[in-house]
Structure formats: C-alpha cells, structure tokens
C-alpha cells in the first residue's frame, strides 16, 4: 500500500470524526421525535467554548468538558422551545443555530479582540497505536476523539436498541401519546435526548478547534451540521450505518483535497457538492421505505 492511500485513509478518519459525533447526536434527538436544526449552531458553539476555555485555562481537557456542557445547554434551550413550549421545530432549531453562532462570534471577539492573527493553542496530540508499522502506523495515528467517535457507534447502537432508556427514547419518537399513557414523562425523555444529543454535537465541533486545528475560525463548521442532517437520513436512523455515511463523505472530501494538492485541474466544488446531491437522490429513492421516527416534528401536548 503506497503512502497516498495510507494518507487518504488517515485523513478520511479525521474528516469523519466531527461528522460521526454530530450525526450520533442528531440521532438521539430525532429518535426522540425532534428534528434538531440547532445542530449547526451547537457544533459552532462547542468549537468556540472548547477553544475559549482551553486557551484561557491552558487545559485542553477543561476545554473538552466545557464544550460538552455547552452542548448540553444548547440541548436544554432547544428543549425549552421545541418540547416544553411546543414551538415549530424548524423555526426554533434555526433560531438556536443563528443565536449560538452569533453568541460564539460575540464571545470570541470579546475574549480575543479584533486581532488579525488568529490565536492558536497547543491542541490534543495524536496517539500512535502501531508506531512501528509503515502502514498501520500512519493510519492509527489519530486524535483520541477519533477513536472515541468510532467506539461510540456501537455504544450508541447498544443504548438505543438494548437499554430501557433507548426503548423509551424510541417510543417517545414513535408514539408520544402511548408513551405518556404508559406512565412515562414525554417532556423529560425528549429533554434528555436533546441534552445527550447536544453534548455529542458540541464535542464534534470542539474536535475541530481543540484537536485538529488548534484554533477557532469563523468558517470552522462550514455546514458540517447540515451534512449530519443528511447523513442521518442516509443511515436510515440506524447508529451502525452512521459510520459508512461519515466515511464516504470523509473519503470524498479527503480525496478532493489531495487531488487538488497534486495539481489536478478539476472543479473540486463538484466533489464537495456530491454528498449533498447523493443525499437528495437517496431521499427520493429511499423516501418511501425510510424509517423516520413517526412522531418527528410533532410537538406533544396533553390536551
């Protein structure tokens, strides 16, 4: 295996990491019946909070913790509007994305000023598992969060399908009336799903700022949240299928960057747009047998 392919595989895993976190986070929300369009802003907020806390405290671990908490907070906010108040999920989700984006930009300028040079930190280090091997060495020289992301996929699958909590979350996403009649608290379950989901999304955003880049830029998320919304449909709301979508997207992105670097004169935008186009086609073809949670987008209110 040549260095091109090894580098490509390593980069694919890196690009896929925030997408896996984001998609698993959105999966929790949607399985509980909430389309969380706050994802883009939550990832941005996580990237900002993680970076700001890591930079001011000097500890990337504190930064990661702060990002996790900021995501939980974003989930609570989404819950207040979409679950507790029952506001239209599209509007409240987009509103939260816009608000969290604006808050992050404001906070960033407040803390770091208007400097032209972007502040940077010493982020997480890559961990080499097979440092001696010429092939496995570079592939498995990844950030801790990448390993966690991949390990999370079976864990989330287990939580969703094999635990009581997962059953309750699925129930509340399919039929909140019946769940309520069975004596479960719909509001609490949906809130919990949004808090877990928000935390995962924010960690995905923080991966970019405190691991991969070691800095925070205004274009740091650049639509990755929307990609996650697409990936979840691609994965048919099943945790184990999230990996393949994320790897495919990551692979295409990594490949186009490399081809560009090698001087290929091709419109790289075509490659970048491809995953979105494929998702629309997948939605169209698979639309009829898509297993979207039945109660998604429907606010639940006891009458």
């Amino acid at each position: 295996m040549d260095t091109f392919l090894v580098g490509l595989i390593a980069a694919t895993l890196r690009v896929a990491t925030p997408l896996i976190f984001g998609t698993l986070g959105e999966l929790f929300c949607e399985r509980a019946g909430i389309l969380n369009l706050g994802i883009e802003g939550t990832m941005f907020f996580g990237a900002f909070t993680g970076f700001a806390v890591a930079a001011t405290s000097g500890s990337v671990w504190l930064g990661l913790l702060a990002a996790l908490l900021s995501g939980a907070l974003a989930g609570l906010l989404m819950s207040l509007f979409s679950v507790k108040l029952g506001v239209n999920q599209h509007v409240s989700g987009l509103g939260i994305t816009l608000l969290l984006t604006a808050l992050s930009l404001y906070g960033f300028r407040l803390i770091f000023g208007e400097s032209q040079v972007n502040p940077s930190i010493e982020g997480f280090k890559q961990l080499s598992i097979f440092s001696g091997s010429p092939i496995l060495g570079p592939i498995f020289s990844q950030y801790l969060l990448t390993y966690i992301a991949i390990a999370l996929i079976p864990v989330v699958g287990w939580v969703i399908y094999k635990t009581n909590l997962g059953l309750q979350i699925r129930a509340v996403g399919e039929n909140p009336e019946a769940t309520d009649a069975a004596g479960l608290n719909v509001v609490r379950l949906r809130t919990l799903a949004l808090v877990i989901g928000g935390s995962l999304m924010a960690v995905g955003g923080a991966f970019l700022s405190i691991a991969q880049l070691g800095s925070f830029t205004f274009g740091i998320i650049a639509g990755r949240g929307w990609v996650c919304i697409a990936l979840i449909i691609f994965a048919n709301w099943q945790p184990n299928k999230v990996l393949w979508g994320a790897l495919l997207f990551g692979g295409v992105s990594a490949l186009q960057l490399r081809l560009q670097g090698m001087g290929f004169k091709l419109p790289y935008e075509v490659f970048l747009a491809l995953p979105y186009i494929v998702t629309i086609i997948a939605l169209t073809i698979g639309g009829r047998n898509a297993q979207a949670p039945a109660a998604m987008l429907k606010p639940y209110r006891r009458e």
Binding site: L35, H90, V91, L98, G223, L283
Partner: protein, 350 residues
Amino acid sequence: MLNFKIERTPAPRWAVVVIPIVAVLVTFLLCSILVLMAGANPFAAFYNFIVTPLSSQVSALEVLVKSTPLILTGMAVTFAFTAGYFNIGAEGQLYAGAIAATWVGITFTNLPGIVMIPLMVVAGFAGGVLWALIPALLKVKLKVDEVVTTLLMNSIIMFFVSFLLNGPWRSPVSGWPQSAEISDAAHFARLFPKSRLHIGFIIALLVVVIVYILIKRTPLGLKMRASGASLTGAQFAGIDTTRTMLIAALVSGGIAGLAGAVEIGGIHFHLIESISNGFGYTGIIVATLGSLHPIGATIAAMFIGLIGTGSQTVSRVLGVPVYLGDVVQNTLLLVTLAMFLLQNYRIKRV
C-alpha cells in the same frame, strides 16, 4: 426546574400590540448582560441601536437599504409557510436569483437600462423559481421532506457560486474571486443623493403589496391558508393541495430570487460569495416575527435593518463587538416565539 404546564385559552385583543413591545424589552434586558460583559453601558448601547440610526437622513435611509433584502426573503418565507410548505431554502434561492441577474448584467451589455433592469428582475425571479423547483416537485410528487432538501440545496448552490467565481466567471482584473462587473446600464437607480437606497426597495414594497393581495384577497390565497392550516382538511374541502403547494413553493423561490437580483443590481454590481449575510435564514425570523402577515413581516424586516445599522454604530462608539446586533436579532426571535405561545396559552404551576 421547568415545573409548569401550558393550557390553551384565547388571548385578549391588546396582546397583539403589547407582545412585540414586551419582547423587545425582554430581549434588551437579556442582552444587557452581554453589553456589561464588554464593559459598556447597556442604555448607551440600546440608544445607539434604536435612536442613533434614525437621527440622520443618510443613516435612516441605510436602515431601508439593509431591510430591502430582508423584506423580500421575509415575503418569500411568509408565502411558503402560509401554505404549509416549509421553505428553508430562501438563502439558496437568493443566490440563484443573484446568479441569473448577474448573468443578464454581464452578458447583454448593449441593452439600455430601461430594458436591462426589468430583465434582471425577471431573471432573478426565474432563477429563484428554478432553484426551488426540485425540492418543490420532490415534495408534492414523492412526499420528500422539503426542509432537508431545501437546506441541502442552499449548500449545493454555494459550491456552484464558488465554482463560477474560481472558474468560468472569475474576473481577470480582480485578485478576489468575483465576477466581472455588470454593465453601467444594469446599475439600479438610486433614490436619494448620498444614500445607497435604490429602486430595489420600491420593488420590495411592491412585492409586499402583491403578496398581501395574493394571500388575503384571492382564491389562491384562501387555498394556501387552508392547506397551511390543515392539509387533510383542505383536501376534504376539495382543494387541490398539490397544485396549491407547488405554486406557493415556486413563487416563494422566485421572491427570494428577487432579493438576490436587487442586491446585485443595487449594492454589489458583481457576483461575490458573500452577497447574503444569511438573509435567507433571517427571512424565517422576519416572517415569524411578523406572524406570517405581510405587513407585520415588513415591519419586522425594517426593525432588523435598524438593529443591523445600529450594531455598526454601537461597535464604533462603544467598542462592543459588532456581532451584538446578530445576538439581539436572534434573541428577539426566540423571545417572540415564546411570547406568541403565551398569547394563546396560559402557563400554570404544577
């Protein structure tokens, strides 16, 4: 925490007037915390947000300049949401309109302004319709969720714009990725000396009137409102909801496309990647703040234009980051959303 429940009771009439005012006050109260964090005086900040932009003619007109694209995207969203079609794609449709208008402006350079400008407006509308067509058809023919498809179409067109500006349309004289400038005849006429306010604002107001008449005074509007209130109910009443929704979706796209066309012809004069500062998404805020009423949305767009103009003053005078304006705008949305519910519901402790 959060120990309350919500019950439905009709709102008193005065609520419609009082709620927006209370929402603005609550928003300012919440945002004062951020102003204090920046070491500035909140009263000074909000004075600069609301009063300073209106204190001179030039800056008052600038408020209208800033509100022009927001009125149009607000109308686009109002039109679609009224029919129950959740068009999140006004941002992409705006860019489609901008591309089409730019194409006219850089291609037919011999045309006089009197032909050129109407042609750009028509092209902008057509571009928006075209970009709205795929999600709309998928929705009405195959029941594919329009929220996700319109959202994805926004990302796709940004790659297309990037492709145009780095490839075939790249201006050779500019170091930045931007298109050639549209011909002089394609520049929209200005309405006042020393102000950027252009005829795009008049176009926006015309669109408000047309949208108002369409929604409130025509059979189509009645069908749209019925479909939006209850799709199955409208079908039982014999309304062709497929056709109604399709028309609503396409007209909505066209109006969003107009926003792109007027920004090209009135402000930028060439295609750049940053034509829209999220105007399509802000249109959703505008429409929601205006309770999907064309006049209400117009007032909301002007208020957001005011905050946008004010945020630059606040930033310059008080040294507060300019993004405070965005924070205020989006906080206002969420506060108003909560307030609208209070309009029809009562909260009770449990």
